[in-house]
């Protein structure tokens, strides 16, 4: 569709195509337009091609891939017509890039003043004295002492601000930001987002903000482009697109995002996204789509314009139903079950050389039978260390952990078989928690053999039922972890924990390395398992959305100390501690969708229900 070129037009990317060496397109037909002062949110799950698109806007493609088609025009300058050397000269001055992991992107041996002035010297636009001005612009201390620091002497948020300062230093009309807040804590993330908003007002640069997190993007973007399998499937003004997504994928994405203001059970999208080389013909989303008809797999649908600036790549776009939010959870506190696990006065430290870091200090709580307790806090709040103490993987300095009233020994090795079996741990990163050299069937059979004394053949006979329990097909038994997706691996890890027939499941950030749509499915599975097996769950997370979907009670931790504990309604709706309030305010959320069910009323209902308690 032809957009009228205005003098304010900063970016005009037409039909970008990036191919792998094998000829498969990573992205195709990607067109983006941006005007001065506008923020475009580019959202997609892993493998959707969003980073490839971001880099292509700088005229760059990763080794192994080539930009084979399309046009990128930035402020009237055509980028892709230039040779490599000339493209490089444009970067920083015409367009700049803010990378995802600032800690890894900054040269650890360059002082930050040098890092920033390097960019300036490259383009000879400014003098050294301006480093201070740039630092001040991103709210960092504009002092000589600060400018002389090395990257490791800065916090994560400060490092990210330095990368933003570097991107700003030559005042380019376009800045591409690739997941700049993904590695950061919620509270730091909120301040960096605030910074970006402020800078947009001040400088008026156009911004492309790439993220997998639709909630973060909704807090920032004027327009949103949703990518799936290398193509833009929907693009439009943020408010319109979020209120009434027209592509079934966008709708599914919106429905997958948990909202701590309205604790519901999420509606998960079925299936997983295909890899670059096995994307289906026709609409790539068709195999996962509920609105799919034979037409969908015949040809790739074209982008059609619905209203001004709102485009969608779906032939059945008018049939897409409005967003339906999951059913609200019944949060009336049931009678408190008798405690299974009790922790009293737990203190745990990490020692490195002569330094001692207190990870948990005087932490006490109890976990009831069949209950889900969430330990919430930022990284470094000690929540993982506490969980590791419970599993016998970290030796506490003080305190008692008792199971059914019996104190547990420190080390897993010293615990009785029944004690080891009762508590099972599911690790954060499913890419690390499965032995890459062992098949799923072996991985799942082992715990039953060791902890329940089953024979090898009896343990193997249970594998099918375990896979079924975590909703994986039986053929997964013969696979190696590398043949499974992240979500499938996490299901296997959960099945491995279930193989021991535990009473307590410790879930350590089990969804934080997964895409939102996969997260919704895993959290749904966890809820089903609790209902089926009566498991008690200790949920460790930094994400209040996840808490609202899953937990019954919440324990808020900050720097190893307990700040507040209470039922989920208490913590989310009437937080008492200032730190809890800060966490809740910082958590990114989608704007309250206007649906026929009227969410505003839903929220009021939730509050009145709570008031009635």
């Amino acid at each position: 569709m032809a957009m009228t070129a205005s003098p304010d037009r900063v970016l005009d990317a037409e039909a970008l195509r990036v191919e792998l060496a094998s000829g498969f397109p990573v992205i195709d037909e990607v067109s983006l337009q941006l005007s001065r002062g506008e923020i475009l949110g580019l959202v997609g799950e892993s493998g959707s091609g969003k980073t490839t698109t971001a880099l292509a806007l700088l005229g760059y493609s990763r080794p192994g891939s080539v930009i084979t088609g399309g046009q990128v025009t930035i402020a009237g300058q055509s980028v892709l017509d230039l040779p490599d050397a000339a493209r490089r000269r444009l970067r920083g001055r015409l367009v700049s890039y803010v990378p995802q992991h600032a800690g890894q992107a900054l040269n650890p041996s360059l002082r930050i003043s040098a890092a920033i002035s390097d960019v300036m010297r490259q383009h000879e636009t400014r003098s050294r004295a301006d480093v201070m001005a740039v630092l001040a612009a991103v709210d960092l201390p504009a002092s000589q002492a600060f400018a002389r620091r090395l990257p490791h002497q800065l916090s994560g948020g400060q490092q990210q601000r330095v990368t933003i300062a570097m991107a700003l230093s030559c005042e380019p009309p376009l800045i591409v930001m690739d997941e700049p807040t993904t590695g950061l804590d919620v509270i730091t993330q909120a301040s960096v987002l605030e910074e970006i908003r402020r800078l947009r007002e001040q400088i008026g640069a156009a911004l492309v903000y790439v993220s997998h997190d639709l909630a973060v993007i909704s807090e920032l973007a004027d327009r949103i482009a949703v990518m799936y399998a290398g193509r833009i499937v929907e693009e439009g003004p943020a408010a319109t697109l979020l209120a009434r997504p027209r592509h079934p994928y966008t709708r599914g994405l919106v429905q997958s995002i948990p909202d701590h203001r309205r604790p519901t059970r999420q509606v998960a999208m079925p299936g997983i996204a295909a890899g670059v080389e096995d994307r289906p013909a026709g609409c790539a989303f068709a195999p996962r789509c509920i609105q799919q008809t034979p037409v969908c797999s015949e040809a790739m649908p074209a982008l059609i314009t619905l209203t001004a600036g709102h485009q969608v790549r779906c032939v059945h776009a008018d049939e897409t139903p409005p967003v339906t939010l999951g059913e609200e959870r019944d949060l009336r506190a049931a009678a408190r079950p008798s405690p299974v696990l009790e922790v009293t006065g737990l203190r745990a430290t990490h020692r490195s050389g002569s330094e001692t870091v207190v990870a948990a200090d005087d932490v006490s709580f109890e976990l009831g039978g069949g209950e889900c307790l969430a330990l919430v806090g930022e990284s470094g709040s000690g929540k993982t260390t506490i969980a590791r103490c419970l599993a016998g993987l970290h030796r506490p300095d003080r305190g008692v952990i008792s199971l059914h009233g019996d104190p547990l020994p420190d080390r897993a090795r010293k615990r009785s078989l029944a004690q080891r079996r009762a508590i099972q741990y599911v690790f954060q990163n499913p890419y690390e928690s499965l032995n890459p050299r062992r098949q799923v069937s072996d991985e799942l059979a082992r715990p039953a053999q060791v902890l329940r004394g089953l024979s090898a053949s009896a343990a193997r006979a249970e594998v099918g039922a375990l896979l079924d329990r975590v909703r994986l097909p039986a053929r997964a038994a013969g696979r190696y972890p590398s043949q499974l997706s992240g979500g499938e691996r996490q299901r296997v890890a959960i099945a491995r924990a279930l193989a021991a027939e535990p009473e307590i499941l410790i879930c350590d950030e089990i969804t934080s390395s997964l895409d939102v749509s996969v997260q919704a499915a895993i959290l749904g599975l966890l809820a089903d398992l609790r209902a089926e097996l009566g498991l008690s769950v200790l949920l460790i997370t930094h994400d209040l959305g996840v808490v609202s979907v899953t937990a019954d009670r919440v324990l808020v931790l900050q720097q190893g100390t307990m700040r507040e504990t209470g039922s989920i309604t208490q913590i989310l709706h009437t937080p008492a501690h200032p730190y809890t309030r800060q966490l809740i305010a910082a958590a990114p959320v989608l704007p309250v969708p206007v649906t026929e069910s009227g969410d505003g009323q839903g929220k009021r209902r939730a509050i009145s229900k709570e008031a009635a308690l």
Partner: protein, 285 residues
């Protein structure tokens, strides 16, 4: 049923993996070269036209006539000695490498897995050995223990073990913080079981690149000790020994030095190409 199918698949996949050829072209070339050298060493004695210990002609007769590769310092047939001389190289260097690996793996795995003071104690003693020049150590041991190939072989194993222990320890440290290892620890599995089932299979790949290098070192160390007159004694036929014996006559009959030297070189290159490829290293296709 379900599990039955899984087991079938299991066996098939394992068999397939065991039979798999090296993934890269370089690896395949290495495999072919290695097969050729091993075949030569094993079948050689059957094909040799003369006895390797008999003087059959004039010393340093050049190639040609009755003697395809000429004769050596004592007038023995070089071809026959080359055909006989591969076995000792393969056996002693192979044994030295295996011994070195047994020691290095044991030290490295336990140091890396237990950490703390056992790690410090094991690694400091390893450092002491590491600071010894290899050849000096082997000469020292073989002079002390008396001449013969066995002390040389054992000394070669001992001097190689520390470097292996260091590599194994680092690889073990890296693996032991991963989730599947912690899951096994939380299940209460014994240290031996964790090392064997969880850690060893995952460090095997990076180690296989090192195996080639160690074997090469063993071949060269034993050959150089043989060359210096310790270890294997004349009139034994051995490629390393042949290079040393015939050094003086390299002008008259170059084949007596160059052929065994080239075979030693070929063996080392072949093993390194193969082990690099199995380690999933360079992709030269």
């Amino acid at each position: 049923m379900i599990t039955g199918v899984a087991e079938d698949l299991d066996i098939k996949q394992r068999a397939k993996r065991r039979l798999a050829l090296p993934p890269t072209l370089a690896g395949k070339i290495g495999l072919i070269m290695l097969a050729a050298v091993v075949l030569l060493a094993l079948a050689g004695p059957e094909l040799a036209p003369y006895s390797p210990r008999l003087t059959v002609g004039a010393p340093y007769a050049p190639s040609g006539g009755h003697f395809l590769l000429g004769t050596d310092v004592l007038g023995r047939d070089v071809l026959s000695r080359v055909l006989f001389g591969g076995r000792t190289v393969l056996i002693y260097a192979g044994l030295a490498t295996i011994l070195a690996y047994l020691a290095g793996l044991a030290f490295g795995l336990f140091a890396g897995y237990l950490r703390g003071w056992p790690d410090q104690a094991l690694m400091r003693s390893v450092d002491v050995l590491l600071s010894f020049p290899a050849l000096v150590f082997i000469l020292l041991v073989s002079t002390a223990a008396g001449q013969g190939i066995i002390p040389v072989m054992v000394a070669t194993a001992i001097i190689q073990a520390p470097a292996i222990a260091r590599i194994v320890r680092t690889a073990t440290l890296e693996q032991s913080v991963r989730g599947f290892v912690e899951a096994a620890v939380a299940r209460g599995e014994s240290a031996i079981s964790v090392l064997r089932r969880e850690i060893l299979p995952n460090i095997a790949r990076p180690l296989s690149a090192d195996v080639g290098l160690r074997f090469t070192w063993s071949v060269l160390l034993i050959a150089s000790v043989n060359f210096l007159g310790l270890g294997l004694q004349p009139p034994a036929a051995d490629w390393g020994l042949m290079v040393s014996e015939n050094w003086g006559g390299i002008g008259a009959n170059p084949a007596a030095v160059l052929v065994p030297a080239a075979l030693l070189g070929l063996l080392c290159v072949a093993i390194n190409l193969l082990s690099d490829s199995l380690a999933g290293g360079r992709q030269w296709q």
